[in-house]
Symmetry: C2
Subunit: 238 residues, 2 copies
């Protein structure tokens, strides 16, 4: 995922799309492996897109697709693919229908896409998503980003979803470190995570078990449950 | 900034330290140029640390410094610098004083640092920050991360802080795109940002003016104010 926007890097805006995408992909059985946040700089965006599309199966960009001078994502992606930027007639017609005589050059920038790009329509999208090969171009506004995930899901389809279960404990993280290391070694295909919490009267460490094989996830969780002192277990979820 | 943690990439946890660091650096006059989020993989962390420390003046890492098997940041940074991992006697003494006979190997992993690393104590830190050359190793828990920023600030010191002002408008973003592009061109050293908001009865576009020269920021904002139809201006902040 490439998140584009000075507003994130200056602290003006709390980023929200990484969590939305990560949750969606986890449910689809797709592992999010890397996120980069970069400024509104065309050369930086182009270089990052090229790095990511070579290394990973899918790349999602977030932000920089509006009508103003700081919206440089689409031309930067055209540059990354060394393709010309073309004005799509169907997008131009939709924009002119909406803005009528008030249509500006700024509005019409939103009708441009790199040559060979595809417009992907789907559930939850009043406006198409842009895809250029394995690069999907999402808008940055969180509500709209989330809506477009539906169209993305329809096209990308479901893999083997990841499952996650958790034990909330009152253990000390250092005390259970050796146990967790052994569990991860013995339960192949299950990732064991340990997340401490400070100053919470409810629990001190949340231990998570993630994997695509639900039985293996159950087995790892049960092995942990039986190894822990029962007084340290707050609850199991789900 | 390098954010380390499977919990971010699986959507289990909403990342919070990027915004805290970005806001702090903006006030210090340091521009945050790049954020990478990567999994708990030692080779990935080492490669990313080496890329970032070569390209930028300062690198801040967040996460992966606890006592469990998924806390691999410190050994990965030692590998990035090709330095051995040493146990620091003062940290070991503090850990043993705290945990006494219950001290485990997991706890003692938190006493390790790459050879030549520095322990930085300061305001707001009960526990030192680790620094290896231009790489600063922060814990991932948001409250603790924020506390350690005080010690970081004491050491890094203040540059020329960035200033930001904003006009909240009821303009259409496409209508003002040409104006904003001209303002950024004419006001050198001021970055003009345009952030649309949908479905908010208060405003439609927030226009921001950022720069290290406060007079130039004022001038750009005033030029924008006088060019906009007064009926479109909701408020100016600050």
């Amino acid at each position: 995922m490439l998140v584009i926007g000075n507003e994130i890097l200056t602290g003006k805006v709390q980023e929200a799309n990484v969590a939305a995408l990560a949750t969606e992909l986890f449910g689809l059985g797709v592992m999010l492996k890397r996120v980069i946040v970069c400024p509104d700089e065309p050369e930086t965006i182009a270089r990052d897109v090229n790095e990511l599309r070579a290394r990973f199966d899918l790349v999602i960009t977030s932000g920089g697709v509006g009508p103003t001078h700081d919206d440089v994502t689409v031309p930067a992606i055209a540059a990354a693919f060394a393709r010309p930027l073309l004005r799509d007639p169907s997008l131009e017609a939709r924009i002119r229908a909406h803005f009528g005589e008030r249509t500006t050059d700024g509005h019409l920038r939103m009708a441009e896409l790199p040559e060979g790009g595809e417009l992907v329509l789907g559930a939850g999208t009043a406006w198409p998503l842009l895809r250029v090969e394995n690069v999907w171009i999402f808008p940055g506004v969180p509500d709209i980003f989330k809506g477009r995930l539906l169209a993305f899901r329809e096209r990308v389809g479901l893999g083997t979803p990841f499952h996650t279960r958790a034990i909330y404990t009152r253990a000390d993280e250092g005390d259970i470190a050796a146990l967790l290391e052994r569990l991860e070694r013995e339960h192949v295909g299950v990732t064991v995570g340990s997340y401490p919490r400070f100053g919470d009267p409810d629990y001190t460490v949340k231990v998570t078990f993630d994997g695509q094989d639900l039985e293996a996830v159950h087995a790892a969780l049960e092995a942990c449950r039986s190894a822990l002192d029962v007084a340290l277990i707050v609850r199991i979820d789900p």
